[in-house]
């Protein structure tokens, strides 16, 4: 019996239940309010609908909270209960194996597909189904009970003097506030989970080894010196900015100062297309076109240097994937981030300053270089900072085109690895949440988060100051 209950489709049931509570609460409140208004001659403060909303709100709120709690917590609770009942032999398993065993159990019980001959597994699955069945039935009962209590409580309030509308509106405002607070919750979630996992990592690997070690070999040798990753990230971001900063800046200058309205209306959206292309597409482009191009140029340079007698062997590494290829493509991706924000700040420079310079007989380029750019400098710096932060955090291009080898090399045709590449490499495939290998990804993530946060905060602050100055 309980086993069958274990396969209840909770998603649909909960939705139906919540809808039922909502409509029932609304009708109860509304009908009661209407009955009052028919029998008593006094005027109602709020219209009957609001009494309906009020009752529905009281029915729905506790039910909704319970349903959310169920969705998030049911699985961990059922697993915990099951683990406690499992025979001792299971507890001797490594934790990762136990987790994947439980994964298999819950997958099978969700789909009812196991017809193999492992009797232990069958028994465990049945027990799991019983446990989650009782959990489900308890949840449904609790939700129904709380909804009924909520509705009854609210219904007792319905009276001509009751200010239902105010109550509903402050309830709605609370709900809106909670939605806005999700943003904070997300940040807290990010910071908490990164810190939590990082602390677990640093309890196994010293912080100094991580931050200052120069050998990274997390996959095989458990060496966690992240300096090569920091170097690779820095190097590729630098190459990207070498492309994006001049191109983005000059494009912004040309568009805001030289181009006619018509040119601007065509070119600006085209530049923004660059920002809309998914990064995985850039990664493919880098792999397909740019990396082979970089390689053949590097090979050509090698050959030429040897030919003219400046070198005895190859000077450049000329790898099939390279820092230069990843950096170039990343630079192209970042161009619109530089150009559109710079364009905004350049346009925000008051026209009177331009007029003043022109009236002095300055040429356009003199006006731009000596008057507009100095005035727009803070905003431009901010846009560059944001672009750097974007380049540091970019993942797919480097995953596909930068390489996996952690090393420190100034040769741009060699393959380097970055923080984001390693996070992906460490966390794809089977992951065990206890090994330092997996945890190191979170430590890297923490570094990435903190660095980009600094860049973003500074940039946003500068932009805000700048806006205030000219608005």
């Amino acid at each position: 019996m309980l086993q069958q209950l274990g396969q209840l489709p909770m998603g649909w049931l909960l939705t139906a239940l919540l809808l039922f509570v909502m409509t029932a609460g609304f009708s109860i409140g509304r009908i009661r309010a209407e009955r009052y208004s028919l029998s008593s001659s006094g005027k109602f403060h709020s219209r009957p609908n609001y009494h309906g909303y009020y009752v529905a709100m009281w029915g729905l709120a506790p039910a909704l909270i319970l349903a959310l709690a169920y969705l998030l917590l049911a699985e961990p609770i059922a697993r915990e209960l099951l683990t406690r009942e499992l025979p001792a032999a299971f507890h001797k398993l490594p934790k990762a194996e136990l987790v994947s065993y439980l994964d298999a159990v819950s997958a099978v019980s969700a789909h009812r597909t196991y017809d193999g001959s492992d009797r232990v597994f069958t028994a465990v699955t049945h027990r799991y189904l019983e446990l989650s069945g009782s959990l489900k039935i308890t949840t449904l009962a609790t939700i129904l009970l709380s909804a009924v209590l909520g509705v009854m409580f609210a219904r007792s309030h319905v009276s001509p003097d009751f200010r239902a509308r105010q109550q509903v509106e402050s309830g709605a405002e609370l709900f809106l506030f909670l939605c806005a607070a999700i943003a904070i919750a997300t940040t807290v979630g990010i910071v908490a989970s990164l810190f939590y996992e990082s602390i677990r990592f640093f309890s196994q690997v010293p912080v100094t080894d991580f931050l200052f070690g120069t050998r990274w070999n997390a996959q095989t040798n458990a060496e966690f010196g992240a300096v090569p990753l920091f170097f690779g990230t820095f190097m590729i971001a630098l190459i990207a900015m070498f492309v994006a900063a001049p191109v983005g800046l000059f494009a912004a200058i040309y568009l805001s100062e030289y181009a006619s309205r018509k040119t601007r209306s065509y070119v600006k959206p085209l530049l923004e297309v660059l920002a809309g292309i998914p990064t995985v597409v850039y990664g493919f482009f880098a792999l397909l076109v740019v990396a082979p191009g970089v390689r053949s140029i590097a090979l050509w340079i090698n050959a030429t240097l040897i030919d003219i007698g400046l070198a005895n062997g190859p000077v450049l590494a000329a790898q099939p994937t390279s820092a230069l290829a990843a950096g170039l493509v990343m630079g192209i991706m970042v161009i619109p981030f530089v150009s559109s924000l710079s364009d905004d700040v350049i346009n925000a420079v008051p026209q009177t300053l331009r007029d003043a310079a022109f009236a002095m007989g300055a040429t356009k380029s003199e006006t731009i270089k000596q008057v507009i750019l100095p005035a727009a400098l803070p905003g431009i710096v901010a846009s560059l900072l944001l672009a750097v932060s974007r380049a540091i955090g970019e993942t797919m291009i480097v995953v596909m085109a930068a390489g996996q080898r952690a090393r420190i090399s100034l040769d741009p045709s060699t393959d380097l690895t970055t923080i984001t590449v390693q996070i992906v490499a460490l966390l794809t495939g089977e992951t065990e949440f206890d090994s330092p290998k997996t945890l190191s990804a979170f430590a890297l993530g923490l570094v990435l988060f903190l660095v980009t946060l600094c860049f973003n905060l500074i940039a946003l602050r500068v932009v805000q100051r700048y806006r205030e100055k000219y608005e």
Partner: protein, 522 residues
């Protein structure tokens, strides 16, 4: 230059200086144009590089033949239930292979040759034929025209991809002297000298690759070549066929050892094409098949459905949340430290690298809450958090563009603040909010990195049914295809990218349309 008397400025020195300034101005303008040309040509290069490769994936070479669906092979011992027929790939494959053997009797001589010939069609390629028969068992015992995709390497060769070949028209063979079995000698006209010169040009005199001579349904390899004579080894067909047809030489510069397909296989492919048995057809399996380890069988269907499920979850969470949050912040929030903190937070979250959201999902949703790995629900939630700031920022801008007079007007007739917002401001701000939401969804649709971390990179061969099934997403599929080594994945990846980009273009077109339609100036 104008002449301007009476001015202290107009000294020759000043005029020279002015010339310099003018030149500097022109240079500066040129830098700007160069920057824009650079950015736009990068964009063009990207579009062309991907477009041309994707174009070659729009068609596919299939082996097409009339095949008698022998009941003994297809449904042995009365196994006619749907599942059994579908599972009986071996039987269907035997049918197709036998057809190939009948076409090329020379392959039956050795085990190796039989193996080579069977490689023309992948074993799993008959799967869709098996499904078709299983759906309609009355076909058993009848003759049916079937199409099965050729192996990816042959497909690539026939489309002129790799190994590259150059064809030269040789004309008629002239005289063919057959001496040993399967060997022959031709002495021919001007045609052969053309082949010789082209070959030495292509191979830079090193003569490592092969030259195949095709005529009618027969193909022979040229063993030794001089401008006026050539010695041939027959690969398929007969010398009579060769003698009676105009000859075409296929020069393949890449040595046989360095390519995945042998001369013999190329010969068969050419013969099949000549006979009309290898046909270039529209590559529909690209959108009707799920992922496969063989490029000729792989399709994007599962990934597209996975992406749609993920997007549904994202939309259900991010759009209402984002809009409500924007309404609160713009219309109700008191100016205090808490709301200030929320504001700074939202702006910051918009610039947090997407991979960090993936870490959040991996640790919190998969670890703490034990939600299923690789499921669209987790992916959707992570992406929802990722685009929430985008939606909030766009919605706030849209709310801000509604003039305060609308609010005052509503309040003045006795509406509460909540009523003023929901009855008057929101409807006016709705188009702007909607465009913001679509732009956010477009960003989520192209996002890859966070999905990798929550396991959506798994190989998924079945179309997911619900948001809790194992699934992958289109950009992730692109990533995994791009990481495959075989050349044939390249056009497939490009084609998948084109599908993704067209979805994004559609979303953006909707945005542009909405903006045009509902743009309002106050």
């Amino acid at each position: 230059m104008s002449k301007m008397p009476d001015s202290s400025l107009i000294t020759p020195k000043a005029l020279k200086h002015l010339k310099k300034r003018r030149a500097a101005d022109a240079r500066f303008r040129l830098y700007g144009i160069a920057a824009i040309v650079f950015a736009l040509s990068a964009l063009t290069l990207l579009v062309i590089a991907i477009g041309t490769r994707a174009y070659s994936a729009t068609t596919q070479y299939v082996f097409q033949a009339e095949i008698m669906l022998d009941a003994d092979l297809v449904a042995p011992e009365g196994e006619t239930s749907e599942a059994e027929i579908t599972r009986n790939i071996e039987g269907f494959y035997t049918l197709v292979r036998d057809k190939l053997f009948a076409e090329f009797p020379e392959a039956s001589q050795s085990q190796a040759a039989r193996q080579d010939l069977s490689e023309l069609v992948n074993r799993l390629a008959v799967l869709s034929l098996a499904r078709r028969v299983a759906d309609n068992p009355s076909l058993i015992g009848k003759s049916l025209e079937v199409r099965v995709p050729l192996s990816d390497d042959l497909d690539l060769y026939l489309k002129g991809g790799s190994p590259k070949d150059v064809t030269v028209r040789v004309g008629s063979a002239g005289t063919i002297e057959t001496d040993v079995e399967g060997k022959a000698r031709i002495s021919s006209t001007s045609g052969l000298s053309k082949v010789t010169s082209t070959r030495s040009l292509l191979e830079e005199g090193k003569a490592m690759g092969s030259v195949l001579l095709a005529g009618g349904k027969a193909v022979a390899r040229i063993d030794s070549l001089s401008p006026d004579a050539a010695e041939l080894t027959l690969l398929t067909g007969t010398f009579e066929q060769l003698a009676n047809a105009p000859l075409v030489a296929h020069i393949i510069p890449l040595p046989e050892a360095e390519r995945p397909i042998s001369d013999q296989q190329i010969a068969w492919a050419i013969a099949l094409k000549q006979a009309g048995n290898a046909r270039q057809v529209l590559h529909t399996s690209l959108v009707t098949h799920t992922d496969s380890t063989y490029p000729e069988l792989a399709g994007t269907l599962a990934a597209i459905v996975g992406s749609l499920l993920t997007m549904m979850v994202t939309a259900c969470v991010a759009i209402p949340m984002g809009i409500f949050a924007a309404v609160y912040l713009e219309e109700f929030a008191p100016r205090n430290r808490l709301t200030n903190l929320i504001e700074v937070n939202i702006n910051n979250l918009a610039a947090v690298p997407s991979i960090v959201f993936g870490l959040l999902g991996a640790s919190l949703l998969l670890g703490t809450f034990a939600l299923p790995r690789s499921a669209p629900i987790v992916g959707g939630l992570v992406l929802a958090l990722l685009i929430l700031p985008v939606v909030i920022i766009a919605s706030r801008a849209s709310l801000r563009s509604v003039p305060p007079s609308i609010r005052s007007g509503a309040l003045a007739v006795g509406a509460s603040r909540m009523q003023a917002v929901f009855h008057h401001v929101l409807p006016l701000a709705a188009p702007g909010m909607f465009t913001g939401a679509i732009l956010g969804m477009a960003r989520a649709l192209g996002e890859t990195a966070p999905l990798l971390l929550i396991g959506m990179v798994a190989f998924v061969a079945e179309v997911p049914n619900s948001a809790t099934d194992e699934a992958t997403a289109l950009p992730v599929l692109i990533y995994s295809w791009a990481s495959n080594a075989e050349r044939a994945w390249e056009p497939m990846t490009a084609a998948a990218i084109v599908i993704l980009l067209s979805l994004l273009v559609i979303m953006n077109v909707v945005v542009v349309f909405l903006r045009r339609r509902f743009e309002r100036r106050w």
